[in-house]
């Protein structure tokens, strides 16, 4: 319970720091970077819900982001809805797709799921390319609403709220424990009354809905979307790398991973733009290397070092006691 107090305290401080960013700078460039950083945090932690807490890898997470973006765009331009309900519906549709796609695949061996979601991501990209309503390869233009402060706060409140909700859901509520039980041992989980397929599909939906909403916010913010920008591999690739690099199954790990990788990307693209594609190489190398050298991610390594230190201290204290 002590950790809960400390967590909330840290959360409030970080959230507060973010809140005052627009007051500190009138530079829209920084505001945009902060907004996008928040967005990636949101995508990385939603990916982590499934990967870190149930052990299933979703290699098509970008599809939910894209579904949310396109739904929002279509509802706003074709049906003339307002932004908020459009983004909300975008999230719901992403959730529905997760339900349908998860049902047959989550019953199976993890690799099938990884493959199926990856294919799903690609299939949706194709779909956006061939449909008329999505504008094909030309993409879609949304009503423009150029207010960086609005988008910054929308993203901040959404991702901040999302973080809190996921924290309570996964770390404090029965749901998180059920997920962990299934991750650790599916057969054992069944014996105590859990239906693994159902719980996993729920986790998949929980991870898909906010990703869709984030996509919706992104679409309205950027005002122009196309299949490559919202449904391309890069969305998934980056979310995966951020979460794995930061440390799966912790929420904090992916947050740190997202912040670091996004900062690196921004620097890289700003100063080394002529080598842009090299970014993919670094991303790929980073993920492969972190699997080999940092299997628990940055945060995991940090925590186990802290624990190791604590254990060492405890051990020393014990020794002292014995001597005395």
């Amino acid at each position: 319970m002590k950790s809960r107090g400390r967590f909330l305290w840290i959360f409030v401080v970080v959230f507060g720091l973010f809140c005052i960013v627009p007051l500190l700078t009138k530079n829209t460039f920084f505001l945009r970077i902060a907004t996008e950083a928040l967005m990636w945090i949101g995508l990385a932690i939603t990916w982590d819900v499934l990967a870190g807490y149930t052990g299933y890898l979703n290699f098509g997470h970008g599809a939910f982001f894209g579904i949310g973006a396109y739904t929002t765009a279509i509802l706003m331009t074709k049906a003339h809805w307002f932004f908020f309900p459009s983004a909300f519906v975008g999230g719901m549709i992403a959730g529905l797709v997760a339900l349908l796609a998860g049902f047959p695949t989550l019953r199976l061996y993890g690799a099938y799921f990884a493959i199926a979601t990856w294919a799903l991501g690609r299939a949706f990209q194709q779909l956006a390319l061939v449909l008329d309503i999505t504008g094909g390869p030309d993409g879609m233009r949304l009503p423009t609403f150029l207010n960086p402060v609005f988008f910054f706060y929308t993203m901040l409140i959404f991702v901040g709220g999302l973080f809190l909700i996921l924290w309570f859901l996964l770390e404090r509520a029965p749901f998180g424990l059920k997920l962990k039980a299934i991750r650790e041992d599916e057969e054992g989980a069944m014996a105590i009354g859990l239906n693994p397929a159902r719980v996993k599909v729920m986790a998949f939906i929980v991870s898909a809905i906010p990703a869709g909403i984030i996509g919706g916010i992104y679409a309205y913010w950027i005002t122009y979307i196309n299949p490559a920008s919202t449904l391309g591999d890069l969305v998934t690739d980056q979310a995966v790398v951020m979460a794995v690099f930061g440390g799966l199954g912790t929420l904090i790990g992916p947050t740190i991973g997202a912040a670091l990788i996004y900062a690196f990307k921004t620097y890289f693209w700003a100063y080394l733009s002529q080598y842009q594609v090299l970014y993919l190489v670094i991303l790929g190398a980073a993920i492969a290397a972190s699997v080999v050298f940092l299997p628990d991610g940055l945060w995991g390594a940090f925590v186990s070092r802290q624990e190791g230190r604590k254990a060492l201290k405890k051990g020393l204290a014990l020794k002292k006691e014995k001597r005395a």
């Binding site: 404090r172 509520a173 029965p174 424990l177 059920k178 962990k180 039980a181 991750r183 650790e184 041992d185 057969e187 054992g188 989980a189 069944m190 014996a191 105590i192 009354g193 859990l194 239906n195 693994p196």
Partner: protein, 241 residues
């Protein structure tokens, strides 16, 4: 005769061409401890897995408290009131002892606080309360077996299926576990136990069912069964070669 809580009727389980369980029938009455024994490979574990829903029976029917339950998946059986332990213990390794039992308590107590209270009560009962904040991985084998029982008890089952909860323990630990099993029975839980260590089965069972080659070869009070020549032969092999 009092009412049967579990009725196994002509249950068979066939894998490929092998009849691992062959036309087995028996009943368990409320409040009893029934031992399921037989030499290695006799089909005990298979039958156990059929009863607990991990395999669907090829033939036959299983009735629990008057309801046909054959083919139910394990999580539905848990909801019906059947708890089980695993021979190869399956703790949720990355979680603490308390969390392990809390998860099992959600079935009866969906709210976190209630589940925690129930889990603590059960750990107190099974004697693991001092270790509640330790990682389940770090427990000794005896501790993990005890945790298995705790998790099953958290479901507040009316029938408890125990799979080798004593095997691998040293004599002192074994005695403590036996004590715990008897204590559970005194709470009104009916128990079906599979165990290789005969001393345990013979001491605590009200009745024993003996399997060999998938078939039931004997059933009765432990003392009678142990004198049964068919049973002795099944265990020690034929006296004359």
């Amino acid at each position: 005769m009092s009412e049967a809580i579990l009725k196994i009727e002509n249950v068979s389980k066939v894998f490929g061409g092998l009849r691992a369980v062959d036309q087995v029938s028996f009943e368990i009455e409320k409040g009893e401890i029934v031992g399921l024994i037989g030499p290695n490979g006799a089909g005990k574990t298979t039958l156990f897995n059929v009863i607990s829903g991990y395999y669907a029976p090829t033939e036959g029917s299983i009735t629990f408290q008057g309801r046909a339950i054959s083919g139910f998946p394990p999580y539905r059986l848990a909801r019906e009131g059947i708890g089980r332990t695993f021979q190869i213990v399956k703790p949720f390794a990355g979680l603490t002892v308390l969390e392990n039992v809390v998860i099992a308590s959600f079935l009866k107590y969906p709210r976190m606080a209630d589940a925690e209270k129930n889990a603590e009560r059960i750990l107190d009962f099974t004697g693991l309360i001092d270790k509640k904040d330790e990682s389940a991985q770090g427990l000794t084998l005896a501790g993990r077996k005890r945790l298995e029982i705790s998790k099953a008890l958290a479901l507040e089952p009316s029938l408890l299926l125990l799979d080798e909860v004593v095997a691998g323990l040293n004599p002192t630990e074994a005695d403590k576990t036996i004590e715990l099993i008897l204590k559970v029975r005194d709470q009104g839980v009916t128990i079906l136990i599979v165990e290789h260590i005969m001393r345990v089965i013979m001491n605590i069972s009200d009745r024993v069912v003996v399997l060999n080659y998938g078939q039931k070869i004997a059933e009765g009070k432990p003392g009678e069964v142990a004198k049964n020549p068919t049973v002795i032969e099944a265990y020690l092999g034929e006296a004359q070669a």
